[in-house]
């Protein structure tokens, strides 16, 4: 049972937006020896509900336990494991990189290729905002590292299931539909 392969899983947990709920979730992970690679929490459209997106790693049995244990928490409304499904995941990073006269052009080229933004400029440093999945962020960090990265801040992964790719039905729109996804493909990919 223990020698199953480990796999990365992106799990989305809808929880009651109440004090202490995050600590119930993280306490469950630490108490049972599961690991968390990243964690993101914010309110959903319903202000009484928060979405926790967490990335964890484990074999099939551990992931099954994580799902069941999360579901067992009284404040957990829904658990969805996105792994093996169609989903979009994004992470944002702010990267402060050394920008001397001779390297600025190269940085701006990389920024252009990766479709990121320079959000702060000083005589010595550029701060770059980059959005993408984990591998894209890793790629840009690798490219920038020889120039001298001073500091980074990353958000951790957020994720959402892709909508069904059927032709849209012609229906009268109600105002409630306004928040529904406009782009059925999740978003315009930037990779």
């Amino acid at each position: 049972m223990d020698n199953q392969p480990e796999e990365k899983h992106t799990i989305s947990v809808l929880v009651d937006n109440e004090p202490g709920v995050l600590s119930r979730v993280t306490g469950l992970f630490s108490g049972r020896g599961f690991n968390i690679e990243s964690l993101c929490v914010a309110e959903t459209l319903d202000p009484q509900v928060s979405r926790i997106t967490l990335v964890t790693r484990g074999n099939e049995q551990i992931i099954e336990q994580i799902n069941k244990q999360l579901n067992k928490l009284v404040n957990v409304i829904k658990v969805s494991d996105f792994t093996h499904t169609e989903f979009v995941e994004r992470e944002m990073a702010l990267i402060k990189v050394r920008a001397e006269a001779q390297s600025r052009a190269e940085i701006l080229r990389i920024v252009d290729i990766f479709r990121c933004k320079v959000v702060d400029v000083s005589p010595q440093f550029y701060t770059i905002e980059v959005t993408g999945n984990e591998s894209k962020i890793k790629a840009i960090l690798d490219l920038l590292s020889h120039l001298g990265i001073k500091e980074i801040a990353r958000t951790g992964t957020i994720a959402m299931a892709r909508s069904k790719k059927e032709p849209p039905r012609r229906e009268k729109k109600s105002p409630k539909d306004n928040y529904k996804e406009v782009d059925p493909y999740g978003e315009k990919d930037c990779e």
Binding site: M1, V15, D16, G20, S23, R24, G27, L28, G31, Q61, E64, Q65, K68, Q69, N71, K72, V74, N75, V76, I77, K78
Partner: protein
Amino acid sequence: MRLSGAEIFVESLQQEGVTTIFGLPGGVITDIYDCLGRSPIRHYLVRHEQGAVHMADGYARASGKVGVCLVTSGPGATNTVTGVAAAYMDSIPIVVFTGQVPTLLIGNDAFQEVDIVGITRPCTKHNYLVKKVEDLARIIKEAFYLARSGRPGPILVDLPKDVLQNKTEFKYPKKVELRSYRPTYSAHPGQIQKAAALMVKAKRPIIFAGGGVVSSMASKELKTLAEKMSIPVTTTLMGLGAFPGGHPLSLGMLGMHGTYWANMAVSHCDLLIAVGARFDDRATGKVELFAPEAKIIHIDIDPTSIRKNVLVDVPIVGDCRDALTKLNHLLQGEDATHWGKARQSWLDQIQEWRTTHPLTYEPSETEIKPQFVIEKLYELTRGEAIIATEVGQNQMWAAQYYLFDRPNSFLTSGGLGVMGYGFPAAIGAQVACPDRLVIDIAGDGSIQMNIQEMATAVANRIPVKIVILNNGYLGMVRQFQELFYNKRYVQTRLNGNPDFVKLAEAYGAVGFRAVRPDEVVPVLEKGLAAPGPVIMDFIVAPEECVRPMVPAGKGMTEMVLV
């Protein structure tokens, strides 16, 4: 009607049908005590808050109702943690109310402030900090519902002083609405069919019953199934009493100190039907070697219990009673006589294991053997007493030599293993069942961990009987040291034990002592007949070991027998 939080508390408890609470007052909950004094709810004043939680726990186990305890903030709250964790591990429905400093002071390190909700988060089924009086009635309603529904467990509700003093309109909610909590009671019919098919096919089946059978009150259904299909039943420690111990199909307890034949039967069965058991390491031994030849059916109301420790072939999520009823319904056309014959060779094999390696000990003319005391206690009470135990050798001997014929009669801290659990739990059980004989089987070490509750028993005339198997050691650890540490008895000799007879008398209770084997029966007879709380101090063979034993981490067939 506008009521204060304290009044709402007392009213809500009555709406929940609470007649009894165990507790100890303190500064921030004086408002509640003031209201309690004017209510019909009976309050039992304990001498230490740990005692109050164990009493609520014992009350719940013996009665099947939710046990309630009430303590103050800070140390009152932290003193309950062991009891809360014990109830959590054993899935016992209790609600613990703790006082808290006023909401404005929370976080300021106020006098007797502690973050008890934070502390007990991992050892409660759920817990609450009530932030405004308007939420109080709803939270109390939810707390009782959560405690007893699904897989039962302890709920803690933290009550700040100002919440108890503020007033609001009181209306007790009729229904609980929790969108995120819906336990599965009804077992899936398809899975039930698969299970029934396996039972019909199996040559060497065995039922492995746990505490879930007791908490879902499914003993009758379990007996019907076992008898119909002639399937022998072994139980976990928590499952003792779920199936009659004297029944021909009963194998007694399995596991670390289980019977030889139960462990052998599990190791050789071709179908294991786990009902309300969670495959705890003390029951399974080395899990890779547990029931190695068997297909496994696992019935449990908690999905996390299934496939946590072992892989199973037929998982059934649902209430044990529902699942067993459905199984019995499906199998009602089966012929019990046919199955009796069909299983004969399997039952004969088990009988042979039982005959060659019976549960036994070396009798003595000069020393009292602890097993002998339990045997005599069983005979004298005809198996009808409620038995609470402490933890250690006393617990295992009680489990081995007292045959429990009915459920809700064996109260023990199975999961957490709390020394000091038995005596207060026995008090709680006696309060729940005033007409039954309630006995705490204790060791000389563990009885001292909550001996102060003797005052509670005496003051309230709660006639609990304590049987101390006094060997002058922390016996179970001494046994470990004897078997695995070459008899180096480090810090297990209990020097300075009190004279337990005089101790009983000092509290205003009665004490008896037996030193020789021929004194055992007279002391038990006198002690059990005496009206109030009694301590019976049996000076037993100091270096007796609990056998058989599967050493930790070993397979079930690797038992140490002598």
